[in-house]
Amino acid sequence: MSLVAEAFVSQIAAAEPWPENATLYQQLKGEQILLSDNAASLAVQAFLQMCNLPIKVVCRANAEYMSPSGKVPFIHVGNQVVSELGPIVQFVKAKGHSLSDGLDEVQKAEMKAYMELVNNMLLTAELYLQWCDEATVGEITHARYGSPYPWPLNHILAYQKQWEVRRKMKAIGWGKKTLDQVLEDVDQCCQALSQRLGTQPYFFNKQPTELDALVFGHLYTILTTQLTSDELSEKVKNYSNLLAFCRRIEQHYFEDRGKVLKKHSRWYF
């Protein structure tokens, strides 16, 4: 969007308060949603919980196609539709709620840098695992991605998506990576996050920010999703402060408010 259009949208956003019937759309939880989408969706949910904004989660098979940017999740607030964590954070800020107001410029720079790190490494690794690792693709991804659709549409859509993701991976240089290298990258990323978190409750000490929401979304999903092998979650489990961090956010922002994140939420410890 151009600067003018963005300013315009912000203006409209600021005009109305947050409604009660805001909804978040994602794919079908049980059968269809994949690792990366689940992580993104959970991050947005966590962020909205942290801002104390009510949101209802609605699962639709065609959520990806409804979204304005082709990515899930997206929220439908009033008569506006916003997708992906970045724009949602800005949208919520325009409405007057923000988690990162208390940070100074250097801290904001750091926060943005860490968010990019998570997107760059964790999200890309998840995508790689889902779409470029043959074992996972065959066993899990294809079956799940096309599950709401009849044959042959389910196969066609799955292959199309796979082709798209592989093209992107090649463009950014991940096409030639092996699974071990990807896992090493994940390990490096988790190590960086763990070192940054240290012994603090949240990344910027007392108050959670969108970075906490994003990290929680990804780590929780990795820890509680069963894949063909446990290697990915093993990498995260090496860092006890990250585990404690996830547990803390789950308890504080979800369980205590009566929201069940997963029906059979098992921590694969």
């Binding site: 990515k71 904001k108 750091e110 860490y114 990019e116 997107n119 992107k168 960086a192 940054r196």
Partner: protein, 371 residues
């Protein structure tokens, strides 16, 4: 012996003088432009025991794209971080030889920069940095764990936000590409490739930008361009805030992050473009400009482009002298070798910054060569 590396007196001569492993293996090397990095500095390094061992214990040559008309290399279309590797190696004191490659058949597969040692070949900048670190050329020794984490985060930020715009400025923006980048590259590579390779790199850059940033709701190339330049300017602002008034990103010693940032900013800052949107923005951020200038002056003084043939010979002569002096010391070093190798990893010596004025350059380096 650790690492299984053998050290023989003959190697010292090699280490001091070897520059010429440029181009692809098996093809005819052209060595007329090989330069050593900073012989005077390398000599000063050698005066501390631990540094001596590390400096002369392995043979390293670095392949780089090198353009004599412009001071620095461009970021390649496939995200090759050529100046970063170079800068990092300088910061940590690793001896490396910058080689001009005239023959690009190997590099055309996008494998540049490449670090070759006697044992192995490492490509890709992140691996090169890791390799240098494992060989104990560690510019990050004094960083805390958290600063190391910050480094990774900022590198991710640079790659995500700044790289698309830099790629665009160099390879996609028509005016820049056809007037600066393409003739520049084409002049350095042999005939058939000079027609194909720049075009391919340009398409690769555009492809990468569109695939990673060109998703809906941005349907038009102009919208994508507007977005990536906006992100890049924001990223530069963030870097400027982070740098503040300090000399380097983490205190007084340069580190990996400084190498990365320098690698991105320096070409952007120095190359003269017709369309200068991003450059203008960068020039407004005075602390980033000062950062680039500082590093250029301190670490790249000897390697800046535009060295005349006469200057070239003087550098070679210095190198010869250095080699001879080094040979004399080699035996002593070998004896101390084992003892010092057993000791725990030592912090790097502080690299004194070179501030040489052009007139005194040669005489100063000559003076320093005498023990």
């Amino acid at each position: 012996r650790p690492g299984g590396r053998t050290r023989s007196p003959g190697r010292w001569a090699e280490a001091g003088r070897t520059a010429a492993r440029c181009t692809a293996p098996g093809s005819i090397p052209s060595t007329s432009h090989s330069l050593a990095c900073d012989p005077a500095e390398a000599w000063r390094e050698s005066h501390s025991f631990s540094a001596r061992l590390r400096v002369f214990s392995a043979l390293k040559a670095l392949w780089l794209w090198r353009e004599s008309r412009a001071p620095l290399c461009t970021p390649g279309a496939f995200g090759e971080k050529v100046p970063e590797s170079w800068a990092y190696a300088k910061f940590s004191g690793a001896p490396l030889k910058v080689n001009v490659i005239d023959n690009t058949w190997r590099g055309s597969r996008g494998d540049v920069p490449i670090l070759t040692t006697e044992d192995n070949i490492v490509s890709q900048p992140a691996k090169i940095l890791n390799f240098l670190r494992k060989q104990k050329y560690n510019a990050d020794y004094e960083l805390s764990a958290r600063q190391g984490a910050d480094t990774l985060a900022y590198i991710a930020l640079l790659e995500e936000k700044l790289l698309p715009a830099v790629l665009h400025t160099f390879w996609v923006e028509n005016d820049n590409y056809f007037t600066v980048t393409k003739p520049w590259f084409a002049s350095r590579i042999p005939f058939p490739l000079s027609l194909i390779l720049p075009g391919r790199m340009s398409k690769g850059a555009l492809n990468r930008i569109l695939l990673t940033r060109g998703e809906p709701p941005l349907y038009h190339l102009q919208e994508v361009e507007a977005q990536i330049y906006r992100d890049a300017k924001e990223c530069l602002n963030l870097l400027s805030h982070r740098l503040g008034t300090s000399q380097f990103f983490f205190g007084d010693m340069p580190s990996t992050l400084d190498a990365y940032v320098f690698g991105f900013l320096a070409p952007l800052y120095k190359v003269r473009f017709p369309k200068v949107q991003l450059q203008e923005h960068l020039k407004q951020l005075s602390n980033l400009c000062r950062f680039c200038d500082d590093i250029l002056n301190s670490y790249f003084r000897h390697s800046l482009g535009g060295i005349s043939p006469a200057g070239q010979e003087t550098v070679d002569a210095n190198l010869q002298k250095l080699t001879q002096l080094v040979n004399k010391e080699s035996n002593l070093i070998e004896k101390m070798d084992d003892n010092l190798r057993q000791s725990p990893q030592l912090p790097p010596r502080k690299l004194p910054t070179l501030k040489l004025t052009p007139a005194e350059e040669e005489s100063n380096s000559l003076q320093r060569l005498s023990p």
